[in-house]
Protein backbone atom coordinates (compact mmCIF):
# COMPACT_ATOMS: atom_id res chain seq x y z
CA UNK A 1 0.00 0.00 0.00
CA UNK A 2 1.31 3.40 -0.94
CA UNK A 3 1.63 5.79 2.01
CA UNK A 4 0.20 9.22 1.52
CA UNK A 5 2.42 11.89 2.96
CA UNK A 6 2.20 15.56 2.33
CA UNK A 7 3.71 18.54 4.10
CA UNK A 8 1.07 21.26 4.04
CA UNK A 9 3.68 23.90 4.94
CA UNK A 10 6.05 23.05 2.10
CA UNK A 11 4.51 25.14 -0.64
CA UNK A 12 3.55 27.87 1.76
CA UNK A 13 7.09 28.18 3.08
CA UNK A 14 8.46 28.47 -0.43
CA UNK A 15 5.82 31.07 -1.21
CA UNK A 16 6.70 33.12 1.86
CA UNK A 17 10.41 32.87 1.08
CA UNK A 18 9.84 33.98 -2.51
CA UNK A 19 7.69 36.85 -1.32
CA UNK A 20 10.35 37.90 1.20
CA UNK A 21 13.11 37.70 -1.39
CA UNK A 22 11.05 39.65 -3.91
CA UNK A 23 10.42 42.37 -1.33
CA UNK A 24 14.10 42.38 -0.39
CA UNK A 25 15.09 42.73 -4.03
CA UNK A 26 12.55 45.51 -4.57
CA UNK A 27 13.62 47.52 -1.51
CA UNK A 28 17.32 47.19 -2.22
CA UNK A 29 16.80 48.36 -5.79
CA UNK A 30 16.31 51.87 -4.38
CA UNK A 31 19.60 53.78 -4.06
CA UNK A 32 18.53 55.48 -0.81
CA UNK A 33 18.38 52.08 0.94
CA UNK A 34 22.03 51.49 0.08
CA UNK A 35 22.89 55.01 1.21
CA UNK A 36 21.23 54.30 4.56
CA UNK A 37 23.12 51.05 4.96
CA UNK A 38 26.52 52.58 4.09
CA UNK A 39 26.05 55.62 6.33
CA UNK A 40 24.56 53.56 9.14
CA UNK A 41 27.44 51.11 9.22
CA UNK A 42 30.07 53.86 9.06
CA UNK A 43 28.46 55.85 11.88
CA UNK A 44 28.14 52.71 13.98
CA UNK A 45 31.82 51.90 13.44
CA UNK A 46 33.00 55.40 14.35
CA UNK A 47 30.77 55.74 17.39
CA UNK A 48 31.88 52.39 18.76
CA UNK A 49 35.56 53.31 18.43
CA UNK A 50 35.04 56.42 20.48
CA UNK A 51 32.48 54.84 22.79
CA UNK A 52 35.07 52.77 24.66
CA UNK A 53 37.19 55.84 25.41
CA UNK A 54 34.21 57.92 26.51
CA UNK A 55 32.82 55.17 28.76
CA UNK A 56 36.21 54.63 30.39
CA UNK A 57 36.72 58.37 30.89
CA UNK A 58 33.30 58.49 32.60
CA UNK A 59 31.86 60.65 29.84
CA UNK A 60 29.12 58.25 28.76
CA UNK A 61 26.48 60.93 28.90
CA UNK A 62 28.36 63.47 26.82
CA UNK A 63 26.80 62.06 23.64
CA UNK A 64 23.38 62.89 24.97
CA UNK A 65 24.43 66.37 26.04
CA UNK A 66 26.06 67.19 22.73
CA UNK A 67 23.16 65.83 20.72
CA UNK A 68 20.87 68.21 22.59
CA UNK A 69 23.28 71.01 21.76
CA UNK A 70 23.08 69.92 18.12
CA UNK A 71 19.28 70.00 18.40
CA UNK A 72 19.42 73.58 19.67
CA UNK A 73 21.87 74.48 16.91
CA UNK A 74 19.52 73.00 14.31
CA UNK A 75 16.74 75.21 15.65
CA UNK A 76 19.01 78.25 15.32
CA UNK A 77 19.86 77.22 11.75
CA UNK A 78 16.12 76.95 11.08
CA UNK A 79 15.51 80.45 12.44
CA UNK A 80 18.34 81.82 10.30
CA UNK A 81 16.78 80.09 7.30
CA UNK A 82 19.94 78.21 6.38
CA UNK A 83 19.41 75.43 3.87
CA UNK A 84 22.49 73.57 5.03
CA UNK A 85 22.27 73.52 8.82
CA UNK A 86 25.74 71.96 9.10
CA UNK A 87 27.20 75.50 8.98
CA UNK A 88 25.73 76.15 12.40
CA UNK A 89 25.34 72.70 13.93
CA UNK A 90 28.90 71.48 13.45
CA UNK A 91 30.78 74.50 14.87
CA UNK A 92 28.45 74.92 17.86
CA UNK A 93 28.62 71.21 18.71
CA UNK A 94 32.40 71.13 18.37
CA UNK A 95 32.83 74.20 20.59
CA UNK A 96 30.49 72.68 23.20
CA UNK A 97 32.36 69.38 23.10
CA UNK A 98 35.69 71.11 23.57
CA UNK A 99 34.40 73.19 26.47
CA UNK A 100 32.77 70.19 28.15
CA UNK A 101 35.64 67.77 27.79
CA UNK A 102 38.48 70.19 28.46
CA UNK A 103 37.06 72.28 31.25
CA UNK A 104 35.25 69.40 32.94
CA UNK A 105 37.91 68.74 35.52
CA UNK A 106 39.03 72.25 36.39
CA UNK A 107 35.92 74.34 36.01
CA UNK A 108 33.79 75.63 38.86
CA UNK A 109 30.90 73.60 37.51
CA UNK A 110 31.80 69.90 37.46
CA UNK A 111 31.71 67.72 34.33
CA UNK A 112 28.37 65.99 34.89
CA UNK A 113 26.68 69.19 36.05
CA UNK A 114 28.03 71.07 33.01
CA UNK A 115 26.76 68.36 30.67
CA UNK A 116 23.33 68.37 32.32
CA UNK A 117 23.15 72.16 32.21
CA UNK A 118 24.15 72.46 28.55
CA UNK A 119 22.01 69.48 27.55
CA UNK A 120 18.76 70.66 29.08
CA UNK A 121 19.44 74.30 28.28
CA UNK A 122 20.06 73.61 24.58
CA UNK A 123 16.96 71.39 24.36
CA UNK A 124 14.75 74.06 25.92
CA UNK A 125 16.17 76.89 23.81
CA UNK A 126 15.91 74.77 20.66
CA UNK A 127 12.29 73.82 21.26
CA UNK A 128 11.37 77.40 22.12
CA UNK A 129 13.00 78.70 18.94
CA UNK A 130 11.22 76.07 16.85
CA UNK A 131 7.91 77.22 18.30
CA UNK A 132 8.60 80.94 18.03
CA UNK A 133 10.01 80.75 14.50
CA UNK A 134 8.46 77.65 12.92
CA UNK A 135 10.02 76.62 9.61
CA UNK A 136 6.98 74.46 8.76
CA UNK A 137 3.39 74.00 9.87
CA UNK A 138 4.17 70.73 11.63
CA UNK A 139 6.36 71.64 14.62
CA UNK A 140 5.71 68.38 16.44
CA UNK A 141 6.72 66.50 13.30
CA UNK A 142 9.96 68.45 13.04
CA UNK A 143 10.76 67.87 16.71
CA UNK A 144 9.90 64.17 16.46
CA UNK A 145 12.12 63.74 13.41
CA UNK A 146 15.04 65.51 15.06
CA UNK A 147 14.74 63.72 18.38
CA UNK A 148 14.09 60.20 17.13
CA UNK A 149 15.64 60.26 13.68
CA UNK A 150 12.37 59.05 12.18
CA UNK A 151 13.14 57.94 8.63
CA UNK A 152 15.80 60.57 7.93
CA UNK A 153 18.48 57.93 7.38
CA UNK A 154 16.38 56.70 4.44
CA UNK A 155 16.15 60.17 2.95
CA UNK A 156 19.86 60.81 2.48
CA UNK A 157 21.22 62.34 -0.68
CA UNK A 158 24.49 61.30 -2.37
CA UNK A 159 26.17 64.47 -1.00
CA UNK A 160 25.30 63.39 2.54
CA UNK A 161 26.79 59.97 1.93
CA UNK A 162 30.03 61.45 0.57
CA UNK A 163 30.30 63.81 3.54
CA UNK A 164 29.73 60.91 5.92
CA UNK A 165 32.36 58.77 4.19
CA UNK A 166 34.93 61.59 4.35
CA UNK A 167 34.24 62.27 8.03
CA UNK A 168 34.27 58.57 8.90
CA UNK A 169 37.62 58.10 7.16
CA UNK A 170 39.01 61.07 9.12
CA UNK A 171 37.71 59.66 12.42
CA UNK A 172 39.05 56.15 11.78
CA UNK A 173 42.41 57.47 10.55
CA UNK A 174 42.82 59.74 13.58
CA UNK A 175 41.90 56.88 15.90
CA UNK A 176 44.39 54.49 14.29
CA UNK A 177 47.18 57.07 14.11
CA UNK A 178 46.82 58.19 17.72
CA UNK A 179 45.69 54.87 19.15
CA UNK A 180 48.47 54.65 21.77
CA UNK A 181 48.08 58.24 22.88
CA UNK A 182 44.29 57.90 23.14
CA UNK A 183 44.85 54.73 25.16
CA UNK A 184 47.15 56.59 27.54
CA UNK A 185 44.83 59.61 27.88
CA UNK A 186 41.91 57.28 28.53
CA UNK A 187 43.51 55.41 31.42
CA UNK A 188 45.98 57.79 33.11
CA UNK A 189 46.01 61.38 32.02
CA UNK A 190 48.30 62.49 34.86
CA UNK A 191 50.89 59.89 33.95
CA UNK A 192 51.21 60.99 30.34
CA UNK A 193 51.30 64.62 31.43
CA UNK A 194 54.21 63.71 33.69
CA UNK A 195 55.81 61.93 30.75
CA UNK A 196 55.76 65.20 28.81
CA UNK A 197 52.91 64.37 26.45
CA UNK A 198 50.38 67.15 25.86
CA UNK A 199 47.28 65.45 27.17
CA UNK A 200 45.16 68.56 26.53
CA UNK A 201 45.82 68.25 22.82
CA UNK A 202 44.57 64.68 22.73
CA UNK A 203 41.55 65.56 24.84
CA UNK A 204 40.81 68.26 22.31
CA UNK A 205 41.12 65.69 19.53
CA UNK A 206 38.70 63.35 21.30
CA UNK A 207 36.27 66.24 21.82
CA UNK A 208 36.30 67.18 18.13
CA UNK A 209 35.81 63.57 17.01
CA UNK A 210 32.98 63.15 19.51
CA UNK A 211 31.22 66.21 18.13
CA UNK A 212 31.70 65.01 14.54
CA UNK A 213 30.18 61.63 15.34
CA UNK A 214 27.26 63.18 17.21
CA UNK A 215 26.39 65.41 14.25
CA UNK A 216 26.68 62.48 11.84
CA UNK A 217 24.69 60.13 14.05
CA UNK A 218 21.76 62.52 14.41
CA UNK A 219 20.66 61.41 10.96
CA UNK A 220 20.76 57.78 11.98
CA UNK A 221 19.12 57.55 15.36
CA UNK A 222 18.11 61.11 16.26
CA UNK A 223 19.19 63.26 19.19
CA UNK A 224 17.75 61.20 22.02
CA UNK A 225 19.17 57.84 20.99
CA UNK A 226 22.76 58.77 20.09
CA UNK A 227 24.10 57.87 23.54
CA UNK A 228 22.90 54.31 23.03
CA UNK A 229 24.97 54.02 19.87
CA UNK A 230 28.07 55.14 21.78
CA UNK A 231 27.53 53.32 25.07
CA UNK A 232 25.91 49.94 24.40
CA UNK A 233 28.52 48.35 22.09
CA UNK A 234 31.33 49.41 24.45
CA UNK A 235 29.52 48.11 27.54
CA UNK A 236 28.63 44.84 25.79
CA UNK A 237 32.25 44.26 24.81
CA UNK A 238 33.43 45.07 28.34
CA UNK A 239 31.23 42.27 29.72
CA UNK A 240 33.35 39.65 28.00
CA UNK A 241 36.71 41.15 27.07
CA UNK A 242 39.28 42.77 29.33
CA UNK A 243 42.03 44.41 27.24
CA UNK A 244 41.56 47.83 25.62
CA UNK A 245 42.28 46.53 22.13
CA UNK A 246 39.97 43.52 22.32
CA UNK A 247 37.18 45.64 23.79
CA UNK A 248 37.51 48.16 20.95
CA UNK A 249 37.54 45.46 18.25
CA UNK A 250 34.58 43.64 19.80
CA UNK A 251 32.72 46.92 20.30
CA UNK A 252 33.22 47.84 16.63
CA UNK A 253 32.02 44.43 15.45
CA UNK A 254 28.94 44.54 17.73
CA UNK A 255 28.08 48.08 16.70
CA UNK A 256 28.36 47.41 12.96
CA UNK A 257 26.35 44.17 13.18
CA UNK A 258 23.64 45.78 15.33
CA UNK A 259 23.37 48.76 12.98
CA UNK A 260 23.16 46.44 9.96
CA UNK A 261 20.54 44.20 11.58
CA UNK A 262 18.60 47.23 12.86
CA UNK A 263 18.50 48.99 9.49
CA UNK A 264 17.63 45.76 7.67
CA UNK A 265 14.85 44.95 10.14
CA UNK A 266 13.38 48.44 10.03
CA UNK A 267 13.36 48.42 6.23
CA UNK A 268 11.73 45.00 6.02
CA UNK A 269 9.37 45.31 9.00
CA UNK A 270 8.58 49.01 8.75
CA UNK A 271 9.77 49.90 12.24
CA UNK A 272 11.49 53.22 13.08
CA UNK A 273 15.18 52.95 12.16
CA UNK A 274 16.82 54.55 15.21
CA UNK A 275 14.88 52.72 17.88
CA UNK A 276 15.26 49.39 16.04
CA UNK A 277 19.06 49.77 16.05
CA UNK A 278 19.06 50.66 19.74
CA UNK A 279 16.78 47.74 20.63
CA UNK A 280 19.19 45.42 18.78
CA UNK A 281 22.07 46.94 20.79
CA UNK A 282 20.16 46.32 24.03
CA UNK A 283 19.46 42.69 23.07
CA UNK A 284 23.16 42.11 22.33
CA UNK A 285 24.09 43.73 25.65
CA UNK A 286 21.92 41.23 27.53
CA UNK A 287 23.33 38.33 25.49
CA UNK A 288 26.87 39.45 26.42
CA UNK A 289 25.85 39.79 30.06
CA UNK A 290 24.73 36.15 30.03
CA UNK A 291 27.89 35.08 28.19
CA UNK A 292 30.00 36.90 30.77
CA UNK A 293 28.43 34.83 33.56
CA UNK A 294 29.81 31.66 31.98
CA UNK A 295 33.19 33.06 30.95
CA UNK A 296 33.84 34.48 34.43
CA UNK A 297 32.99 31.15 36.04
CA UNK A 298 35.49 29.39 33.79
CA UNK A 299 38.12 32.01 34.56
Amino acid sequence: MRTYRKNPWKGRKTGLTNEFMAKLQLYFSYPFVWYALIVGLLIALCSSLLGVTLVLKRFSYIGDGLSHVAFGAMAIAGVLGLTNNMYVVLPITVISAVLLLRTGQNAKINGDAAIAMISVGALAVGYMLMNLFPSSANISGDVCTTLFGSTSILTLKPEDVILCIIMSVIVIAVFLLFYHKIFAVTFDENFIKAAGVKAEGYNLLIAIITALIIVLAMNLVGSLLISALIIFPALSAMRVFRSFRSVIICSAVISVICAGVGIFTSIMAGTPVGSTIVVTDIAVFFIFCIVSLFTRRKA
Partner: protein, 193 residues
Amino acid sequence: MKKTAKAAALTAAALLLCSSCAQQPAAKAPDSPSALINNIMSEAAAQASEAAPKASATTAAAPETTAAAAETPASQDGTAVDIDLTQMNSTMIYSVIYDMMINPDSYYGKSLLVDGYFDTMVYDGSDTRYFFVVVPDATACCVQGLEFILTGASYPGDYPEVQDDIRVRGVMDCYEEAGQMYTYIRADSLTKI
Protein backbone atom coordinates in the same frame (compact mmCIF):
# COMPACT_ATOMS: atom_id res chain seq x y z
CA MET B 1 41.06 78.62 29.01
CA LYS B 2 42.12 81.15 26.39
CA LYS B 3 43.99 78.41 24.55
CA THR B 4 40.90 76.21 24.68
CA ALA B 5 38.68 78.90 23.25
CA LYS B 6 41.22 79.69 20.54
CA ALA B 7 41.58 76.05 19.60
CA ALA B 8 37.81 75.62 19.55
CA ALA B 9 37.35 78.65 17.33
CA LEU B 10 40.03 77.47 14.89
CA THR B 11 38.56 73.97 14.77
CA ALA B 12 35.09 75.33 14.21
CA ALA B 13 36.32 77.48 11.35
CA ALA B 14 38.10 74.52 9.75
CA LEU B 15 35.02 72.34 10.06
CA LEU B 16 32.85 75.10 8.66
CA LEU B 17 35.03 75.17 5.57
CA CYS B 18 34.93 71.39 5.39
CA SER B 19 31.14 71.29 5.59
CA SER B 20 30.80 73.94 2.89
CA CYS B 21 32.45 71.54 0.45
CA ALA B 22 29.44 69.30 0.71
CA GLN B 23 27.00 72.16 0.42
CA GLN B 24 23.51 71.23 -0.61
CA PRO B 25 21.61 73.22 -3.21
CA ALA B 26 19.63 76.12 -1.85
CA ALA B 27 16.01 75.36 -1.20
CA LYS B 28 13.24 77.82 -0.62
CA ALA B 29 9.87 77.23 0.89
CA PRO B 30 7.15 76.73 -1.70
CA ASP B 31 4.87 79.72 -1.91
CA SER B 32 2.61 78.32 -4.58
CA PRO B 33 -0.67 76.70 -3.59
CA SER B 34 0.04 73.31 -5.03
CA ALA B 35 3.09 72.72 -2.87
CA LEU B 36 2.78 69.32 -1.40
CA ILE B 37 0.92 69.11 1.86
CA ASN B 38 0.53 71.66 4.64
CA ASN B 39 4.08 72.85 3.94
CA ILE B 40 5.23 69.93 6.06
CA MET B 41 7.78 68.81 3.56
CA SER B 42 8.35 72.30 2.26
CA GLU B 43 12.06 71.85 1.82
CA ALA B 44 11.62 68.63 -0.12
CA ALA B 45 8.98 70.20 -2.31
CA ALA B 46 11.19 73.17 -3.08
CA GLN B 47 14.06 70.90 -3.97
CA ALA B 48 11.75 68.87 -6.16
CA SER B 49 10.63 71.99 -7.92
CA GLU B 50 14.19 73.08 -8.54
CA ALA B 51 15.21 69.65 -9.71
CA ALA B 52 12.28 69.32 -12.06
CA PRO B 53 12.94 69.82 -15.75
CA LYS B 54 11.90 73.01 -17.48
CA ALA B 55 9.38 71.15 -19.51
CA SER B 56 6.06 72.49 -20.63
CA ALA B 57 3.12 72.01 -18.32
CA THR B 58 1.55 68.55 -18.04
CA THR B 59 4.21 67.08 -20.29
CA ALA B 60 5.80 64.04 -18.84
CA ALA B 61 9.56 63.93 -19.14
CA ALA B 62 11.12 60.92 -20.77
CA PRO B 63 11.24 58.26 -18.07
CA GLU B 64 14.72 57.42 -16.93
CA THR B 65 15.43 53.84 -16.13
CA THR B 66 16.27 53.58 -12.46
CA ALA B 67 16.94 50.45 -10.54
CA ALA B 68 13.90 51.24 -8.45
CA ALA B 69 11.50 51.24 -11.31
CA ALA B 70 13.18 48.54 -13.33
CA GLU B 71 10.65 45.95 -12.28
CA THR B 72 6.97 46.08 -12.97
CA PRO B 73 5.31 44.08 -10.21
CA ALA B 74 1.67 43.16 -10.34
CA SER B 75 -0.28 45.27 -7.89
CA GLN B 76 -2.80 43.96 -5.38
CA ASP B 77 -5.63 44.28 -7.87
CA GLY B 78 -3.69 42.25 -10.43
CA THR B 79 -2.79 45.03 -12.85
CA ALA B 80 0.87 45.76 -13.40
CA VAL B 81 2.27 49.07 -12.19
CA ASP B 82 5.83 50.37 -12.10
CA ILE B 83 5.75 51.45 -8.46
CA ASP B 84 3.29 49.71 -6.18
CA LEU B 85 3.40 51.49 -2.83
CA THR B 86 0.51 49.42 -1.51
CA GLN B 87 2.83 46.44 -1.13
CA MET B 88 5.47 48.33 0.87
CA ASN B 89 5.64 49.02 4.59
CA SER B 90 5.14 52.52 5.99
CA THR B 91 8.87 53.27 6.34
CA MET B 92 9.55 52.43 2.71
CA ILE B 93 6.47 54.23 1.42
CA TYR B 94 7.50 57.41 3.22
CA SER B 95 11.07 57.09 1.93
CA VAL B 96 10.01 56.40 -1.67
CA ILE B 97 7.69 59.42 -1.68
CA TYR B 98 10.46 61.57 -0.25
CA ASP B 99 12.74 60.27 -3.02
CA MET B 100 10.05 61.24 -5.54
CA MET B 101 10.22 64.80 -4.23
CA ILE B 102 14.02 64.92 -4.30
CA ASN B 103 14.55 63.08 -7.59
CA PRO B 104 11.32 63.61 -9.54
CA ASP B 105 13.01 63.09 -12.91
CA SER B 106 13.51 59.43 -12.13
CA TYR B 107 9.80 58.88 -11.65
CA TYR B 108 8.09 60.83 -14.45
CA GLY B 109 6.13 58.56 -16.74
CA LYS B 110 6.03 55.71 -14.21
CA SER B 111 2.71 54.22 -13.25
CA LEU B 112 1.99 54.33 -9.53
CA LEU B 113 -0.45 52.83 -7.04
CA VAL B 114 -0.63 54.45 -3.62
CA ASP B 115 -2.81 54.17 -0.51
CA GLY B 116 -3.32 57.03 1.91
CA TYR B 117 -5.99 59.34 3.16
CA PHE B 118 -7.74 62.00 1.15
CA ASP B 119 -7.25 65.70 1.68
CA THR B 120 -8.10 68.75 -0.36
CA MET B 121 -7.48 72.46 -0.02
CA VAL B 122 -7.78 75.83 -1.67
CA TYR B 123 -4.83 78.07 -0.91
CA ASP B 124 -5.09 81.76 -0.07
CA GLY B 125 -5.20 83.92 -3.16
CA SER B 126 -6.16 81.06 -5.43
CA ASP B 127 -9.47 79.73 -6.66
CA THR B 128 -8.08 76.36 -7.69
CA ARG B 129 -8.76 73.33 -5.52
CA TYR B 130 -5.94 70.85 -5.05
CA PHE B 131 -6.31 67.18 -4.11
CA PHE B 132 -3.85 65.05 -2.18
CA VAL B 133 -3.28 61.50 -1.13
CA VAL B 134 -1.55 61.79 2.26
CA VAL B 135 0.83 59.14 3.59
CA PRO B 136 2.12 59.16 7.19
CA ASP B 137 5.53 57.79 8.17
CA ALA B 138 6.15 54.83 10.49
CA THR B 139 5.95 56.93 13.65
CA ALA B 140 2.95 58.84 12.24
CA CYS B 141 4.48 62.13 13.35
CA CYS B 142 5.26 63.22 9.80
CA VAL B 143 3.10 63.01 6.72
CA GLN B 144 3.78 63.53 3.06
CA GLY B 145 1.20 64.30 0.44
CA LEU B 146 1.19 63.60 -3.25
CA GLU B 147 -0.99 65.85 -5.35
CA PHE B 148 -3.21 64.10 -7.84
CA ILE B 149 -5.45 65.28 -10.65
CA LEU B 150 -8.36 63.07 -11.61
CA THR B 151 -9.40 63.96 -15.13
CA GLY B 152 -13.08 64.67 -15.67
CA ALA B 153 -13.96 64.56 -11.97
CA SER B 154 -15.87 67.30 -10.19
CA TYR B 155 -15.70 68.23 -6.52
CA PRO B 156 -17.34 67.24 -4.22
CA GLY B 157 -19.47 64.70 -6.07
CA ASP B 158 -16.68 62.51 -7.45
CA TYR B 159 -14.44 62.68 -4.39
CA PRO B 160 -14.56 61.01 -0.98
CA GLU B 161 -14.74 62.82 2.36
CA VAL B 162 -11.55 64.40 3.74
CA GLN B 163 -9.60 61.86 5.86
CA ASP B 164 -11.20 58.91 4.03
CA ASP B 165 -8.76 56.14 3.13
CA ILE B 166 -8.22 56.10 -0.61
CA ARG B 167 -6.23 54.29 -3.29
CA VAL B 168 -4.96 56.31 -6.24
CA ARG B 169 -3.70 54.83 -9.47
CA GLY B 170 -2.03 56.96 -12.09
CA VAL B 171 1.13 58.12 -13.78
CA MET B 172 3.73 60.48 -12.31
CA ASP B 173 3.80 63.75 -14.17
CA CYS B 174 4.62 67.42 -13.68
CA TYR B 175 3.12 70.80 -14.50
CA GLU B 176 4.27 74.37 -14.34
CA GLU B 177 2.58 77.00 -12.22
CA ALA B 178 3.82 80.48 -11.36
CA GLY B 179 7.19 79.61 -12.83
CA GLN B 180 7.69 76.49 -10.71
CA MET B 181 7.42 72.85 -11.65
CA TYR B 182 5.21 70.62 -9.52
CA THR B 183 5.06 66.86 -9.44
CA TYR B 184 1.66 65.20 -9.36
CA ILE B 185 -0.12 61.96 -10.13
CA ARG B 186 -2.16 62.01 -13.34
CA ALA B 187 -4.80 59.76 -11.80
CA ASP B 188 -6.69 57.12 -13.78
CA SER B 189 -8.72 55.97 -10.82
CA LEU B 190 -9.56 56.99 -7.28
CA THR B 191 -11.00 54.31 -5.02
CA LYS B 192 -12.27 54.61 -1.47
CA ILE B 193 -10.88 51.70 0.58
